[in-house]
Symmetry: C3
Subunit: 430 residues, 3 copies
């Protein structure tokens, strides 16, 4: 199943090229970085943009000021830049207030963040809801700081503006929706950020390439506050229409496939993701909802209660480069992204093709007269005949393909061609 539609595939190279384009942009919860990112994604699929003004109340939250940044650095007395935002946008703590001060090393230290256990990594930190400023740097850089005075400069601004969201709605034969959501608020981070929007964009392109049974909704939102803002905008429609949803996160490395169950744990989305995950090579991991960490926190909350699971390669927090400068263009590979794309695509294919088949005749049909059997009855059947008979015998109109696959110890993806033959032969119907 995985590769039986060559025209529907996007190469890992194509995915990685888009990711490389987006990587240098300095995204945050709000601001020009998000808008530039959405503009580039808009080259792949059409997006509807929404700007939510600063101060808007969104459930328990308030849209914060919009953050902009031109430059940030620490210089020594001789004007040499020791830490420089232009080299890596992780060097500044996200949402840092402007500063322009000379400080001693002792006074500077509380504003510095590094990882002693990963001395070559710049950590990623933010301070969205409490005004402060700070720099992130490698532990080696920090250890080398020497001198009497340091000039800390952050040329940022926090002003009334707006938070930017985007959605792409792809109508299908029915109004039942499959909802994909991914986030666009981290600066230069490849796996735990851009792999999601990149896969989502090309999934959208693929979905638009042919008629679909379901309607698809793809949201690109800043994490947490953006997801809440999107929820507040669309909650009635989401609660009414969404039959399954997927949060796309960390889909670009090449070391694992993972899912995080929904809060309820037994929704259609869970059943689909579990069945597809089981077809991926090891290692693969099915996490409970306790391992959640992205926007499923909002979408699955009691007030929203959407049937959403998370699809990942290596899950956020479970790989050593997570939330550091090591989560970069080397970590995310073309093969990793292509596997992430296929993981999502196969989940969607299974959703599209899942139904509750009903056998059209009582007892086993005579397969021989339909060319589905072989001449001599030797008592035991070839594997494919056995699969055909197993699908038929469970086709009681009450049991969907995912459950039939579980009962007959097969993958539902592997059943799809068999089911197609049986429908063509008139032996099952929806």
């Amino acid at each position: 199943m995985t590769d039986h539609r060559p025209d529907s595939s996007v190469s890992g190279t194509t995915l990685h090229a888009l990711l490389a384009d987006l990587f240098p942009i300095c995204r945050s919860l709000t601001g020009e970085g998000v808008r530039k990112t959405l503009a580039r994604i808009g080259d792949i699929i059409p997006l509807d943009l929404h700007e939510i003004p600063t101060g808007t109340e969104v459930f328990d939250w308030t849209i914060p000021k919009e953050w902009g940044i031109q430059d940030a650095y620490i210089e020594d007395g001789s004007g040499r830049r020791l830490v420089d935002f232009r080299e890596n946008n992780l060097h500044v703590v996200g949402y840092s207030a402007p500063v322009d001060e000379w400080l001693t090393l002792d006074a500077l230290q509380p504003h510095l963040h590094s990882l002693p256990e990963k001395p070559d990594a710049i950590p990623f930190l933010t301070s969205y809801y409490k005004e402060s400023w700070g720099f992130c740097l490698t532990h080696r850089q920090r250890a080398a700081l020497a001198g009497d005075r340091f000039h800390a400069v952050i040329k940022s601004e926090l002003k009334d503006g707006s938070l930017t969201l985007a959605e792409c709605l792809i109508p299908g034969e029915t109004g039942d929706e499959i909802f994909l959501s991914t986030y666009i608020c981290h600066p230069s981070m490849a796996n735990n950020e851009l792999s999601g929007p990149v896969v989502a964009a090309f999934i959208g392109q693929w979905l638009r390439s042919a008629p679909r049974r379901f309607t698809y909704r793809i949201a690109f939102v800043p994490e947490t506050i953006g997801a809440l803002a999107y929820l507040s905008l669309r909650i009635v429609r989401l609660k009414k229409n969404v039959i399954a949803g997927f949060v796309l996160s960390c889909l670009g490395d090449d070391r694992a496939h993972s899912m995080i169950a929904s809060r309820r744990g037994n929704t259609l989305a869970d059943r689909i993701a579990s069945a597809v995950l089981a077809t991926r090579p090891d290692p693969r991991r099915a996490y409970s909802f306790l391992a959640r960490g992205s926007d499923e926190r909002q979408y699955c909350s009691p007030g929203a209660d959407l049937p959403m699971v998370v699809l990942c390669r290596s899950r956020f927090g479970d790989y050593p480069e997570y939330h550091t400068s090591l989560d970069n263009l080397d970590l995310v590979t073309p093969a990793g992204l292509e596997g992430g794309f296929r993981f999502v695509r196969d989940c969607i294919e299974l959703a599209e093709q899942n139904f509750k088949p009903r056998a059209t005749c009582t007892g086993e049909p005579q397969l021989g007269k339909r060319g589905l059997y072989h001449q001599l009855s030797t008592g035991f059947l070839a594997d494919d005949i056995r699969t055909i008979k197993n699908v038929l015998v469970y086709a009681d109109g009450e049991t969907d393909l995912i459950e039939i696959a579980r009962l007959i110890e097969a993958s539902p993806l592997a059943l799809l061609p068999v089911v197609a033959r049986l429908r063509a032969a008139g032996l099952i119907e929806p």
Copy 2:
């Protein structure tokens, strides 16, 4: 429990004697072999016969022509019979068309069937639905074939006729039915054929020996097409009345006890068979419905949806002699058949005696004043008292004996005498 009714037992010798009578008859899907077999079984229990004409449509199938065979052989140039139907009726492929040809060995080979891995066994093969002809022989016979020309002769005929079924209906106190089905279409095969009809016949005789709570229906049918024909004849009544059913197959060897679950897996028949199976000595095997292979394929199909399980000693396909000439009168033993008879009989006993008991008093009854206790309360109870108390405490009118037995970690068969004492004492009632 197993042997507490000596008058209800049939000796293995009696069972084996009937099987030996039936063994030489050349049965097939249709024809005189089936009729002769049913005539002999009719000596044990009364049978109603049904002839379904060739060409009759039965669900997705059509009753085939009736097959008859007088003789079949391969001779060499000197007229010596190298393969001879009169020695073993497995030598001819079932439903072979007539032939009378001289062929070279090369031309003959595609019509020959042997088992290199079992060089002394004649395989059993049929070609019911595609006209062809062939011979089965041991691999040693085949290897010894030498010469220029071989005379292949099959004196068979395929003509309009009928397929023969039989049923025995044994009315009980209620119209709820227990349905037994077994098959009668294999030539000289002892375990995977005759053990079923032989056990079924004597179970019928035993059922008729005393009044029963349920009505019993025993069907003797050619496998697959015969089961479908019987289903088509009785489907309304079967769907309305059958509370549990058992396919009787391979009940004659002495190496295991087995069951195959129904499609739904949790019917009364499943619960009964599981509980009885658990009382048999090791090895015993409870297979899922995926291991099905006999007429449960039809009876459990969505259109029929009967609550039927298969009862076996060694399951078809799971013993090395299966579908060869080694499945013979040596493989099936008197002890094996007697065990098969008892397995079926105990399932029926449990069905007859199962009910949802309700304790007649609140709290524990005073067992002492009823002679069900001992004088000195030493705090802990003898096993039988504990069983009495356990049955009473779960006798809530909602839970049947099979479930009570599961809850109290006992065999429901072992509970039957306890339950009888409690009913006699007025402590439980249905």
Copy 3:
């Protein structure tokens, strides 16, 4: 949680002192021993006494005659007391009829009971429902018996009188009841008797010290017949009001914590006891209802069907001193009783504080603005924040705290302070 209310604790010393007061009293099913015991317990909590006359029918049973005993002994020919009730009231078989006979050792033997495998222990035996007499003694005592004649004297009487019950009803905000029952019919036995009433009495005192959500009913009854008599007196109210119940038994040793599930196994009482048991140190044991042995036999019987579990330290029958003179004031310790008290108290606390929380806002609330968060988002959360978020995300108004705790792999007792903070912050409501 266990100790967060210092004012609600009773010291083990206090518990043990009451137990020591009650220990010497010779209790039995009926008689003055029971009344003296209840009078002393009445110093701790107010009791309503009920006297059920001899001959009263109680379900399947009849209230027996009242037993009184003044003295009992075996003397030798020289008038030396070899076995003396005044030394240990276990020496006489409970409910022994009066006797005053000279017997040979051979004639005496059938009236003697000792434990060869525990030669220093006097066994505890009764003969409530069959008139007889006997003495219990250590096996060493028995082996040392020598002489021609022995004078067996039991100064007892069996007369029309009554069986004595007591109950304490503590009204709460609602009429829903939590029912505690313990037994008062064993003579000098510390764990398998007095630990229960002692803990029950001080639990009652503690319950009365503050307003409670539920109404509490504490019954002190002779085992079996007393429980049945109490059931017959209150069955309508119990079946209507009791939401959870606990039989208190063997709560005084210091070697384990145990519970015995109710008949149904999944009641509120089971869920509470399981959750609290899991917070006790090892060893701890959750027994099925098959391990029952005290008044849960009556309360959980189908006619009553109350949701009751048994709370124990070491379960009756599972410790070597059970039902012997070794079950004494050494076996039961202040620490053991205090642990028993806390076990029961924590079950009650959990019942009182359990509810189905509902989150008041859609999505996660902003914890930061409420002082429930920390400044820098480092991506992963401290344990307490994670617990807060886990409680909130499962607070769907359908799931109670016990179930939420199970889902988030926490103890519900540990959640109570978190839940209190969330209620105070207005983030959840019932």
